[in-house]
Structure formats: C-alpha cells, structure tokens
C-alpha cells in the first residue's frame, strides 16, 4: 500500500519553497532595475573628462545607495532561510552591484568607504561594510557576500573598464574588431592621456592577484581567464601613446 500523504507532504514543501522564491525574486527584480540605472549613470564616465566626473559620481552614488536599500530588504528575507539554498536567486545581481561600487570607487566616488590600506580598489571588507552585509561566514548560516561573488564582481568591473562584452553577446570575431579598451580609448579622445596608464596599472595589479589563485574548472576560472585579454587591450593603447610620446611626463609611472 502506498500512502498518499507522502506525496501530499512533498507538494506542501514544493509550495513553500515556491513562495520563498517568489518573494526573493521580487526583491531581486527591483535590485536589477535600479542596477541598470546605476550602470547607465556610470556609462557617462566614457564621455566625461576626469576632472569633470564629480556630478556623474554623485548621481552614481545616489543610485548605488538606492540599491543598497534593496540589499537590506533582501537580507532581511534571505536571513530566514538557508543561505546556499537560495543564493542563486540574487548572486548575479549582487555581483553587478558590487561591480558598480568598485567602478564608482575606482573613478573616485565613495571615497569615505574605501579602507585606509593602500589597495587600489575597495577590499571585500570595504564592500561588506559599505553594504552592511557580513563577508565570508564559515559557520553561521546567514546572508553574506561570498568571496566568489566579490571576485566575479572585480572581473566584471575590469571588463567594464575595458569594455569586453560577454562572449554570449559578441562572438570572438566581433571581439577582435574591438582592438582597444573603451574607457582608455574614450579618455584619449577626451584629451586625457593619463587615464589609460592608470587603467593599465590597475588591471595588471589585479591580474597578478588572480594569478595567485588555484582555480578549478569553474565559472571563476572561465571569467578570470578573460583578464589577460583586458590587459592586452589596455597595453595596446598605452603602446600607441608611448610610441608617439603622448604620455605626460610625471604622470602615473608604469
């Protein structure tokens, strides 16, 4: 005899999980919508010279803080459930937000939230403190920013700096027609010959960091493999400039 209740109980559990996912999904959608605004604001950096960036950074900061409110809402719901059971629901959007934060900070925004250590980017501790979320929890089962999410966000930020579109949107053939880093190129167009060097040094610094990791055949490896192409793209711009003696002396040294 098969007890029907077994299947009824399973259905109850499935329904409960669906309700939780619905609730989390709603918040993540709002986070994503606000995220697109942040990214649109940050994209204005491409057409703004370094010394006139402040209004862009102010707008970006306001938009990021609006996203931060959604993270707080997400955290309050997610904390009631096992973290890794539902992590997949928001992981991507949280990465996008952290990438925006890093980009904004790199351009000079959020200065009060960057730690005093001399890293050229916001550390995972800085980001955790800014977003008011724990980092790297080991035992306690609660909402937090994982190392993998943070590292993927850094990679996304590098890609935004040099504007490599993800492979799913652009094939390799089209990519090879984008010979140079977008922000580096656009900076030069705006008359800023120094920024490409800063970008180059920054990406090389991060690249040397990623080379220290023993990555398995996972998403982190696939994405971090792309950094070396970013390095090359920026170096191409720096090479073009140095060949023609266009880099200001006394600027950022290589």
């Amino acid at each position: 005899m098969i007890d029907q209740r077994i299947f009824e109980d399973l259905q109850t559990k499935i329904d409960e999980e669906t309700t939780v996912r619905d609730e989390l999904h709603d918040i993540v959608q709002t986070l994503a919508r606000k995220g697109r605004s942040t990214q649109a604001i940050l994209a204005r950096a491409h057409s703004t010279p370094s010394d006139k960036l402040q209004p862009v950074l102010d707008d970006a900061t306001a938009s990021i803080i609006a996203q931060k409110d959604e993270v707080a809402r997400l955290r309050s719901v997610a904390d009631k459930h096992p973290f890794y059971k539902y992590n997949g629901v928001w992981s991507r959007e949280l990465q996008n937000l952290v990438a925006s934060i890093e980009l904004c900070a790199w351009l000079g925004g959020l200065p009060e939230h960057k730690g005093t250590d001399s890293a050229s980017f916001m550390t995972i501790e800085d980001v955790g403190k800014f977003l008011d979320v724990p980092i790297n929890l080991k035992e306690q089962d609660a909402f937090y920013l994982t190392i993998e999410e943070y590292l993927l966000a850094l990679i996304a930020m590098v890609e935004e700096l040099v504007n490599i579109s993800p492979p799913q949107r652009l094939s390799r053939a089209i990519l090879s027609n984008f010979p140079q880093s977008r922000l580096a190129v656009n900076s030069v167009t705006l008359g800023d010959y120094e920024r490409p060097l800063r970008i180059g040094n920054f990406i090389k610094d991060l690249f040397s960091g990623f080379q220290l990791l023993n990555l398995k055949n996972d998403i982190l490896r696939k994405r971090s493999d792309g950094i070396k192409y970013s390095v090359k793209k920026v170096e191409d711009v720096v090479y073009d400039l140095s060949l023609r003696n266009l880099i200001p002396k006394g600027g950022a040294t290589a």
Binding site: I2, R21, F83, Y84, Q140, G209, A254
Partner: protein, 282 residues
C-alpha cells in the same frame, strides 16, 4: 632579441620583475589575493572530500540494491544471508556519513550539494529494502532517522530517491512475474466478490497484483506533483518522470503478458527489458 623598454624609452631590467611580483612584500593586492587563495583552496578541498564520499556511498548503495534484487518475496523479512551481506555495507555507509558530517555543518549543508547523489542512491537502496519487507514506502522522517544527525536529507533527495525506487520495483516485479510462480493456475481467491465464472479465468497472485497497483499509485502521485517551471526547481524531474512512466508501463505489459500468454511461454522465459515499451507504436 631586442631590449625591452618602458614607454619612456628606458631599457627595462627583466630579471627582478617576476620575483618581486610574487613576494610577500609585493603590495596589498598580493596579500589580499593570497588570503583568497587560502580560502578557495579550503573550499575546493572540502568539496573534493565530499564528492569522494558521495561516490563511495553510491557504489555501496548499488551493491545493496543488487543483493536485494535476489530476494523473491515481498512482505517478509529479508533472507538472512542477504540481510547479513547488506548490513556490512550499511555499516560502511554509516561510517562514511559520520565522517563527512563536519564538512556539512551549519552554512555548508546547502553549499556542498554534491553529497546529494550519494544520499539519493542510499534512499533508493533503503526504500527498496523497506518496500520488500513491508510493501510500504519509507517516509522522509524515517530516512532522516536512519542517518547521523547533521546529514540533511532534502525533500528533493527524498523525491529523487523514490523515483529511482520505481526502477528497482520494475525490475523486481518483472523478474518475480516471470520466475514461475505467476498465478495462472493459482486458486486462491484474490477478490471475494468474484463470480464463479470469473474465478476460472487466470489472475495474478496477490503480492504481484499489489506491486502493479503500488507502482500505479506512485505514478499517479508523482504525476500529480505540480512544480513551477520558472525556478529550475527539481531539475531532473522531467527526465525522471519519463523513466518512471516507462518502468510502470513495462510492469503493466509484463503482467498482461504473463496473465494472457503465461501458460504458453517456455520455461525460463523472461520478458525482454532491454528496449522501452512500445505501447502506442504498433
């Protein structure tokens, strides 16, 4: 080979650069990433330990299932020799589970779901044993009680284990139907309200008829589950459902075949299980 020069034109001395890049004092980025490396290594090591445990549990569970397929009767205790053989394996599985508990505590219970495949195979084994002994399904709570505290059995594990159970029930049913004690000549009354005329017709022995009915009930139960598609919950559900439907149909076909043509078959004949049933493909 030319001299590598910096963008300012000065020759670059090459020999020292790779050294400093990886030394301890090479700057904040390096020490930050060294920290990440340690964390990620710890994660990968743990993950591999769990995958290995899961595989070992799967292998042992499969052996238990093979042994159980030698049982020929339901609703009776498992024969002593088979029970003894399997107890050794169950003890080994218990040890494997106990040893992996520290890697799966707290937040890690949902992080390392690679243990899931081992748990599902284990559920398949114990639910099969449970069914053979009692002709009932083991419940989720009963499964949890068999495992060390700290090993989480998700509803998904349980459900997927039950899906696989239908495959074992199918194998068992077909072998049992064809092993000679099919009921074509049985005189025991299966249903009290049968008329005399009907009684002369062949019918299945009670335990075999129960098996077919149980499988059908399970199929109905599985098919009734409604899982929203949007969230990729229970990813294997569709494939598992097809396999399960196939198993049920094989048993229904076999029962029909034995019943109608049973007396005509040569002794030792068993239905062909190698191909899927072709019910509608005539």
């Amino acid at each position: 080979m030319g001299t590598k020069r910096s963008w300012q034109g000065q020759p670059v001395t090459m020999q020292s650069k790779p050294e400093t890049q990886f030394s301890e004092s090479a700057g904040p980025t390096i020490s930050i990433f060294e920290n990440f490396r340690n964390e990620l290594d710890e994660h990968h090591d743990r993950r591999e330990r769990i995958i290995k445990t899961s595989r070992d549990i799967t292998a042992l569970s499969k052996k238990i299932i093979f042994a159980l397929q030698r049982v020929r009767a339901t609703n009776t205790p498992i024969p002593a020799n088979i029970a003894k053989e399997n107890q050794t394996r169950l003890d080994q599985i218990q040890t494997l589970f106990t040893n992996v508990v520290p890697d799966l505590t707290g937040i890690n219970a949902w992080r390392y779901r690679s243990i899931s495949s081992g748990i599902q195979e284990y559920i398949e084994a114990i639910s099969f044993e449970h069914y053979l002994r009692t002709q009932t399904l083991i419940t989720h709570a009963e499964v949890c009680a068999l495992l060390p505290a700290g090993i989480m059995v998700t509803e998904e594990d349980y459900l997927m284990g039950l899906f696989d159970l239908t495959g074992e029930m199918m194998r068992f049913a077909v072998l049992s139907l064809s092993s000679g004690n099919a009921a074509a000549t049985s005189t025991e009354p299966v249903e009290a309200e049968m008329t005399d005329a009907k009684k002369q017709l062949p019918h299945l022995a009670a335990s075999q008829a129960d098996l077919v009915v149980d499988l059908r009930t399970m199929r109905a139960g599985f098919e009734e589950l409604s899982v929203p598609r949007k969230y990729h919950m229970l990813r294997d559900l569709q494939k598992k459902t097809e396999v399960m439907q196939n198993s049920v149909e094989k048993v229904e076909r076999a029962a029909y075949g034995i019943l109608v043509r049973g007396s005509e078959r040569p002794s030792g004949w068993t239905p062909d299980l190698s191909a899927p049933v072709e019910v509608e493909a005539q």
